[in-house]
């Protein structure tokens, strides 16, 4: 099995595109760093920050009274007020400037870019062998079909992991160089109006990891479609569409239907259970994790079934 994975990497290593993707990630991180540096002033905090926060809280309370019928807005505002109150009470000044931590958190959306790139690899790794005809020379050799497919899947996952880790490390490196470590290592997490203190590094790693979940799911989908349809364009197209539209679509549905909670995208953001509100009332983190594994089982199960059973013509 290890040999098979190493063999997949042997082929992947010879592709210039995987290096190009890594370069894109690093360049994007540097670009966001530059933008952050230029607009740094916007983050400055006034000396009388306690009064400032209190005034902001008052504003939010008024807003809540006006929009009492909008539960999402009021919930969000209540959490902000709770954080402000906590800061005033415990004398925790908001980060006076952009630090490596806040900068890295701001880079989390770049995970989607890494996701897109890994999906391109995932969508082609099986179907590419079919369109290139090399699947024949591969499958007339002793390795069992399921092992070959598993090796390919693990290869895609390791490549994805490398890109995500690269994004994290590059963000930390650029962040430290441009913004320094900042003056506070405390992150305030708020859940249901209850505020708790947390080490910023713990928070960062969890937030980063949870944010990659929809990447893993979509990469798995692209991979499964690649094995099922044996066509790179179809698998990339379908999974990209799902990746870009799935979240929006699910939010729209969530307002009206309770069964939305069974949809994949209602479950991919585990950050909601730590701070924020679930997609649909009553969802828990355990429920979401179970749903994620069910979806993964369906994707991979179908892929393995078709790949091992079907004739290679």
């Amino acid at each position: 099995m290890l040999t098979l994975i190493r063999n997949e990497w042997f082929k992947l290593r010879k592709k210039p595109s995987i290096y190009l993707m890594a370069i894109i990630i690093v360049l994007l991180v540097i670009a966001t760093g530059m933008i952050g540096k230029v607009t740094e002033d916007a983050h400055s905090v006034p000396d009388n920050w306690k009064e400032d926060l209190a005034a902001k809280s008052e504003q939010l309370k008024e807003e809540n009274q006006e929009h009492a019928n909008n539960p999402i807005l009021t919930e969000n505002n209540r959490n902000l007020i709770a954080v402000n109150d906590y800061r005033i009470e415990h004398d925790i000044k908001p980060g006076s400037q952009l630090s490596v931590w806040s900068y890295t958190v701001e880079n989390v959306p770049l995970i989607s870019v890494a996701g897109l790139l890994v999906m391109i690899i995932a969508a082609g790794i099986v179907s590419g062998e079919f369109s290139g005809g090399t699947i024949k020379l591969m499958m007339i050799r002793p390795a069992a079909r399921w092992k070959v497919l598993l090796a390919k899947y693990l290869t895609v996952l390791t490549y994805g992991l490398l890109l995500v880790v690269l994004l994290l490390l590059a963000s930390l490196a650029v962040g430290i160089i441009l913004f320094g470590t900042g003056d506070s290592m405390i992150h305030l997490t708020v859940n249901n109006g209850v505020v708790s203190e947390e080490n910023v590094l713990v928070y960062l790693l969890r937030y980063f990891f949870f944010s990659t979940i929809d990447l893993w799911m979509m990469v798995s989908l692209a991979f499964a479609l690649s094995a099922i349809f044996r066509n790179t364009a179809v698998s990339l197209g379908v999974s990209l569409f799902a990746y870009l539209m799935g979240g929006t679509f699910t939010s729209l549905l969530a307002e009206r239907f309770d069964w939305t909670k069974y949809l994949l995208f209602a479950n991919t953001d585990l950050n909601r259970y730590v701070s924020g509100t679930p997609f649909v009332e009553g969802m828990t983190m355990t429920f979401s994790i179970v749903m994620l594994f069910l979806y993964l089982a369906v994707f991979l199960g179908t892929a393995f079934m078709t790949f091992t059973k079907r004739d290679i013509a």
């Binding site: 082929k11 010879k14 020379l137």
Partner: protein
Amino acid sequence: MSLGIQLKNVTKKIGSNTIIDQLSLDIHKGEVVGLLGPNGAGKTTTIRMMVGLMKMTSGDILIDGLSVSEKRSATAQKLGAIVENPDFYSYMSGLDNLRYFAKLQDKKIGRQTIDEVVSIVGLTESIKKKVKTYSLGMKQRLGLAQSLLHRPKVLILDEPTNGLDPAGIREFREYIRRLAGEQNMTIVVSSHLLSEIELMCDRVAIIQNGRLVRTETIKETSDQENLVKPSSQVVMELADSSKAEQILQEKLPTLETQSRGQRELLIQADKETTAKVIHLLAVQDHPIYRVRDSQQSLEDRFLEITDEKGEAYADAHSQ
């Protein structure tokens, strides 16, 4: 067990279509068998089932005594094959391709073995170039190389001479003969180049509409046909064919003759009768310029056989 490959009532159905119908064929070790058949006859399907890319609907194929449907991994170790086009990773060098395929094999294949095989197929000079710069003939050579890396007992080659130049074809043919002779390798070759098959193979199996319609031993037809089949056709080139025909009809009334033009006479005769005919004409002072065996080429026989059966098949289905 002296059989290299054994096909036992192999049937392949896709939907309600029967692609291969109860195909049985025994191929001995050290034998080179040519697989012939018109387009769509089922040659490639048969080959794909032998190498385990396609599953059979019923029946079984044994490779060196092991069942492909039950022990594919074990039979794969005994097999080397080219299936249809020699497709490789074009962004990698020929050498990297071979190294990759060598690593997919269960046994360890060293660099020395790879170099050896590369020099056998005559690619040493260009092996470090990317495959996308290769010609079809070079890819074909690389295809042969990858099939030989693990020293298989059975070699299955689909259209292997496609794209090779005449010198390459001859080299290839001689190498195939040597593998069968020296290493007792069992070799199946499918090709459209009938003359090529005729030179390379011990035996041909003709497939049509998914059925085995005939196997023919090549050596037999070339060397012994005249003795085995008395009705062989002989062409004589003479001064005057009608006059010669008269002479022969007088002396040998049972002889079948047919004049073709003024100078050619066709007779149906075995070797002994041919000698008699020459003697008769010679003593009559009738000039004989040339006598030759009008041997049908494999191509003629192939077309004859497939045509016949094709019509028979069509008839059977139209009724």
